[in-house]
Symmetry: C2
Subunit: 404 residues, 2 copies
């Protein structure tokens, strides 16, 4: 199951970014499970990674390599997360970078490795090394959709977005994947995006950190932060023009807006394809004293198993929303002041059922696949929005049978 | 579904506590849904209530009444939580106390009201008032099992425990209920226990607070703290003997131990009957720097949807346990030092699969209905244990069809 059509726009190539797809047979024979990105010399690359203390070997190696200079290649495999694999996992991640370096003539430290799939199984390095040699010759700018397919695990469909940045010569294109173990903390597993704009490394990293915080870090499927989350943004500069090296530079605002839209679409695409999802839900908390408490409230409601099963049942169960809100850790919350609406229908006010509420209106509000739950706290001017899914039988089925 | 036989021991009456059961037809006609406790004059009563900011009208009224003196009656209804019902709910809770006072000759402030069931629907006061008059005449010391039945909602079986306190003339007996919206914070909906020991009000309250913290506050079914949690401990003093007014008093230690066992059994009974439960799981975190971080780790693992679905599948998925641990908020956690065992089989060590692990041993360890997941952090001497259940299809079915 997944919410919405999942139709993708035209994916514009980004000058300076080439892609190749391979099949290493990591989990299943014949499946496209390897993706190689080549980044033109002179590109700048920014990345954010999972804050999970138990982070995968490739995340550790990618962090290390990023420090030593600008990457030329990104190597991504699915079917195996290379997490919880100890020193052997670290060696495998390093060795896969060396293999790319040997084939392409770059340094191993100019390759960033990414893995997604089963935790705790040894990365089948020999299979990857056997599949790699065919890739460099097939590198091509037009393979973003293939790459989106190539990084899927329990995803039911590819996730991608692309746009020409208005009023500028620039393009932005990106892909993402993920369906379960989704509550990114600094980034999500996996997002890759590129622009042909020329952007300095500092500005690119601060753009990415800010935008990831407002997009990937605002989604949750099951509250389980992955061990492998990683999000990468590349600026090749191939479109030319003045270097964007500060927020006052020409086109900075337009590029920022386009990247925010790109990342928001990619992050929401992960929620729409959340494991077992039948609903796409925005939980909007307004009127908070500060953004931190709005976020706490929004995530607590979005992750409550009782709220999520009510969403699955299309039940306008505002009592469960208020109960979740009541345990969100806002010590001096006055529930009598809280108003809750679902798709515009006020369901609760003054700590109880809204006077104007009718069961028919509530049922009608809950019926659509896409919902907005709006919670007004009446404590200040801060607001935050988090996107989530419901909790269905298919979530249990998928996770009782798939060993992540 | 539920875990274990659910067989109950003999429930000893507690001198000074009488019980009556009634049928008000609150949710379904004919169901036993009213329980009245009468406490002998001179009894002391301690109580702890939910810390959810969105707390039910009866919780607010019970707190108020407790302040003004020692209660003589406890009135409990199921089928309606009287939560999220605003001023009308407060009036209904107060009025139900007045009705008991009129029938029994006590003051309304000597009655504590308790409700459990659907949130957000008006309490059908007229039905309760109509059913109450038959109750006082049927008050009887031998009805603890009937009371355990009378307070059930989605529970599949009654929960009760009773013991003669060794080396003392005292008896302790108690009942509890609850299956979903279970992560008590200071107490759980609902626990009622009594002893015939003579205990001063101060000592009784501190005994209850301490014991509730170590029993009810260590269980979680779905992480959703209820709006109606309440736990009451009555000491009638009818067994006579010296007043227990300090922790140095004779019999204090024995009584404390008996009450801790009573509350632990009652709390665990709620987990064993958790909504859709097929497993009863102790998550034990040892070697922590302090108890707070052990608790954070234990609750994060116990509430992870991915860990819970793996438990449902009897899958020894240690990767999900480590992933949950990694996001538990222990900032300087060194995953390389963590050891995880399931029912004594070491599954993970040094951040990866244990050398000694075999899949056959892992599968065998996961097979039983009752499991202990032991997580050793190697950071200090603190430890904590939390009890929980798995996440099954039935949890989704129950909560997609029951409006709590």
């Amino acid at each position: 199951m997944a919410v919405g059509s999942g139709a993708l726009p035209e994916l514009h190539p980004v000058a300076g970014v080439k892609i190749a797809i391979g099949s290493a047979g990591i989990k299943k024979p014949g499946r496209k499970d390897l993706v190689l990105f080549e980044l033109a010399e002179g590109s700048t690359t920014a990345a954010v990674f999972t804050q999970n203390r138990f982070c995968a070997a490739p995340v550790q190696v990618a962090r290390e390599h990023l420090k030593s200079g600008s990457p030329r290649y990104l190597l991504i495999n699915t079917g195996n997360a290379n997490a919880g694999t100890g020193q052997r996992g670290m060696q495998a991640a390093r060795r896969s970078c060396e293999a790319v370096a040997e084939l392409t003539g770059c340094k191993a430290s100019e390759v960033l490795p990414f893995s997604t799939g089963v935790i705790g199984e040894t990365l089948p390095l020999a299979k990857i090394e056997a599949a790699l040699p065919t890739l460099p010759a097939s590198l091509n700018e037009g393979l973003w959709l293939d790459a989106a397919h190539g990084i899927m695990t329990t995803d039911t469909r590819p996730k991608a977005w692309s746009a020409k940045v208005e009023g500028t010569p620039y393009t932005v294109t990106g892909i993402s994947k993920g369906a379960g173990m989704i509550k990114p903390n600094m980034a999500t597993m996996l997002g890759f995006a590129a622009t042909d704009a020329p952007v300095s490394a500092d500005v690119l990293q601060s753009l990415l950190s800010d935008i990831a915080e407002r997009s990937f870090n605002r989604i949750t499927v099951d509250g389980d932060t992955s061990t492998n989350d990683a999000c990468v943004l590349v600026a090749t500069g191939k479109a030319g023009g003045e270097l964007i090296d500060s927020s006052d530079a020409p086109h900075y605002q337009a590029l920022q807006a386009a990247l925010l839209e790109l990342f928001t679409v990619l992050a929401q695409a992960i929620v729409r394809d959340g494991e077992g999802a039948t609903k796409f839900v925005a939980v909007k908390v307004e009127g908070g004293a500060n953004r931190a408490e709005c976020l706490k409230a929004a995530f607590t409601v979005a992750e409550s198993p009782l709220v999520k099963t009510a969403l699955f049942a299309s039940d306008p169960n505002w009592g469960r929303i208020l109960a979740a809100l009541g345990r969100a850790g806002i010590d001096d919350l006055d529930v009598e002041k809280v108003t809750v609406s679902i798709n515009g229908v006020v369901v609760a006010e003054a700590g109880g059922l809204a006077e104007s509420y009718t069961e028919a209106a509530g049922q009608a509000a809950m019926a659509p696949e896409e919902l907005t739950i709006c919670i007004y706290l009446d404590r200040g001017d801060a607001s935050e929005t988090v996107w989530t899914t419901d909790f269905s039988h298919d979530y249990v089925t998928i996770n009782a049978s798939y060993r992540s």
